[in-house]
Amino acid sequence: MDNLLWLIPVSPLAGALLLILAGNRMSKAAIAFVGAGSICLSAILTLVVGFNFLSNTPPTGIMSQTLWSWFEVANFKPEITLYLDALSLVFIFVITFIGALIHIYSAGFMTTDKDYSRFFACMNLFVFSMLMLVLADNLLLLYLGWEGVGLCSYLLIGFWHESHANGYAARKAFIITRIGDTAMAIGLFLLFYQFGTLAIPDILHKAPESWSNGSSGVTIVALLLLAGGLGKSAQLPLQTWLPDAMAGPSPVSALIHAATMVTAGVYLIARMHVLFELSPIAQTTVAVIGAVTLFIAGFSALTQYDIKRVLAYSTISQIGYMFLALGVGAYSAAIFHFMIHAFFKALLFLAAGAVIEALHHEHNMFKMGGLKDKLPVIFWTFLIGSASLAALPLLSAGFYSKDQILWYAWAGEGGNPWLWLLALLGAFITAAYTTRMMILTFWGESKTTVSHKPGKLMTVPLIILAFFALFGGFIELPHNFAHFTLFSNLLQPVLPLTKLNVNESSEWLFQLIAAIATLSGIALAYFFYSRQPMRLAGLRTNGAFNSLYRFWHSGWGFDKAYDTLLVKPLVYVSRANKHDIIDRIYSGITTASLTFYRWLSLTQTGSLRWYVMGLIVGAIIILTMQIML
């Protein structure tokens, strides 16, 4: 077969099936080979297929491969079709490449775990589902991948299921994303009702003809799809599951909650961008939610003491940037930031996992310190990742991607000064909490001793990711630096170019402002955590500041709000209904018929005279009725 596209998702699926069926009979080396090898195979195939696609691009810009027809009911015939264009190429490159590195890392990280094969089976299944999500030609197949990643996220967050807290975190993640999934399913029903098909190219072609700009139909569908994206991407108001999802192993956090699953919402909105363009309300909602989320999550990240929770809130914040970019119409900037974010966030999570392992499961940053000299490789890779996250000017890849979003938030078609201001403050806070994290973990006196250093399997992926976090940004330079825009040229057939409202010449001013914001954030954290750490303790004695600090720490009280508004009433109602009112109706029918039966059985006396009497009375009644009627 000359088209190898189908092998890319099938390879992890085969790996997962093999590990599910024969995992506990295989040796550790074999499990690691199958688990990591299947994703490495997918990565190599992605490079081959991608190179092929880029060198002889089909005229339509699309390479699709129909495997078989799923089912056919009335006129609805969804097919298992894999659809490769520039957008899905970027996504499968990120998923397989970063996935392969994370799998190699996990081969080292999870060595001492007794459920080695179950881990790799779930991870492979996850990569398969995510690949199906981005390669799907129709929304039903996308929904298959969507649900699959939700399931695997549940399985992997609750991987260490002996602890009840992990199971609770996994259930919380699943239930909250389920709310988004339900909204998305309703959106799919409405789309099918309108168009009679769920094939994405057809919908995107027919949408401008069926719906006028700003009509209520397209707005409702777009908002429902957005709600689905909010659940999976942990944005307001469905963001509370992601910090608790850090209960899972670090490779899981890196793969699912940094690079891939949480970007499914970004993919959905980018893919269905025609619908969002037809509905300005929905697009504005996307931008506003993105901006507010990134602002809120930044403050929460500033107050956390668990290193993984800082990174979790940071992920929520960065995906807020992507949503903001999608909302103002800067699609290629959003996807560019997605790719760069995937690299540095995966790097940060893997490095944090290595630090936690080296300190023997110590998560609290305030108990770390002085690791700069003890764990040099991790220190340098973590530093590069943090520089990218904080968007260190000119050097790191994060600068180029985040700066683009900031510029388009001001200058783009849907841009707005308030959005730009929120994003700028968010960048300031990002730099601050990133520096805080670095200082607390690596500088200062060491409060916990290193028990063992990580091996090669764990450090080599870190180095590779650090390379990309450093140099990945250079493929898309801003317009005033040079005319070198490889990335948006790649995506141009799929996603429209961003239109500007403002004169292009003022771009250097905004880059300067963004750079100043980053540097002042770094300076602020340096002042409070390195120079004068006593100041912060002094500030916290102030009651108002302390309660604000604790409010930020609890994620702006969302968990408590949901608990009081939704969880407690539901638990109360289900406790009151312990004997199930609806069930009582059905058992009432049973009781009534049993009572009637007991009454009737009293007439069976066994006495012959009684029966004869019955016969005679009946005969008399019938005769009487005959005479009367």
Partner: protein, 102 residues
């Protein structure tokens, strides 16, 4: 002979029938109940004969021969059963034979 109207014969048959029913209900001994059933059979046979005489057809007489034959068979089987009942329970009181209560 022609002066007896069919109504009179039917009323006689009805009275005999009701007497039979009364006997079935009132009597305690099974043999007397069987006797009362015989009276009911004979009453219905009388009704058939009267109808056959009215319409001057032999069907009434034929019916009565059927009834007679059937009554004979029934009595033989019934008496055999009564013998068995007495053998098992040593009593022919209908109020004592209540084993099939449900």
């Amino acid at each position: 002979m022609n002066g007896i109207s069919i109504n009179m014969v039917m009323i006689l048959a009805a009275i005999l029938f009701i007497l039979g029913i009364a006997g079935v209900i009132i009597r305690k001994n099974i043999i007397f109940m069987l006797l009362s059933v015989e009276i009911m059979l004979n009453a219905s046979g009388l009704a058939f004969i009267a109808a056959g005489a009215k319409w001057a057809q032999p069907d009434g007489q034929i019916m009565f021969i059927f009834i007679l034959a059937m009554a004979a068979a029934e009595v033989s089987v019934g008496l055999a059963l009564i013998l068995q009942v007495y053998h098992q329970h040593q009593s022919l009181d209908i109020d004592k034979l209540k084993e099939m209560r449900g």
